[in-house]
Symmetry: C2
Subunit: 149 residues, 2 copies
């Protein structure tokens, strides 16, 4: 598994958050964290299982879901649903930077994008409505820039 500086930072951060929360360490968890850290796009739980098996590091399915739930609970990853069957999981950068997704209905590509204006709108809105928004998820459906012209 290749570890770049950035991914290592996230993995260490994740481990220390969990340790501080009083969790023991464990092999399955380490394997999942390392795998996630090395990804640059979202993975589903089953894809994680396959990837780990391919790397000769079998991890029980239940463990994978448990680890993902734990990481999501501590906001170390974000769970995203794009409408296809499986939920996907993506690193949540410690600096709060994140993006959303457009699902192209023609080429079926998933196009990530980010937009400060959108983030601001959501902040304003949650203040006005009295929500304490911890996370948000925006999915656009339509044609990507490539297919739209």
């Amino acid at each position: 598994m290749v570890k770049t500086a950035t991914t290592q930072v996230w993995a260490d951060h994740a481990r220390s958050v969990l340790e501080r929360a009083g969790h023991h360490r464990g092999g399955a968890r380490d394997a999942v964290i390392d795998l996630l850290a090395a990804q640059r796009c979202a993975l589903s739980a089953l894809e994680i299982e396959d990837a780990l098996r391919a790397a000769d590091r079998r991890v029980g399915r239940a463990s994978i879901y448990r680890v993902l739930e734990l990481l999501a609970h501590h906001r170390l990853i974000q769970r995203i649903e794009l409408g296809d069957a499986a939920a996907r999981y993506e690193l949540a950068a410690p600096d709060g930077d994140h993006h959303h997704h457009l699902l192209c209905e023609r080429c079926h590509r998933v196009v990530p994008f980010n937009d400060p204006g959108l983030e601001r709108s959501i902040e304003r809105l949650s203040g006005r409505l009295g929500f304490a928004v911890a996370e948000h998820d925006v999915v656009l459906h339509g044609a990507c820039a490539h297919c739209a012209r």
Copy 2:
């Protein structure tokens, strides 16, 4: 089944759109359309099945999913996923009015809201990025106004 003026409008609209698209009529489809028209909040496919059975109008499960897919394809309903297992389906008002949902992490209620500012942000953003956005879906996670204070 009670039919108010508004719901009848939608049902008629839906049927004429499908007819113009070259679809034959059918009993299952009519039943699902009438049921949807009478709802004021989103239903899952299984809830639709149950409601129809309760109304003594059994409809095959496959037909329900087929009808929902067809209606969604013609943008007569919108499919929404709130992260729990089942997808839900909601009327898409012909006037384009729609709302989004906050999932309260404490009381687990689904709180609908709408926000013109948010809509404007999404329009601007899609123009800037070159997307042709046909539909969009915003899900907030956090605490609702009631739980937040």
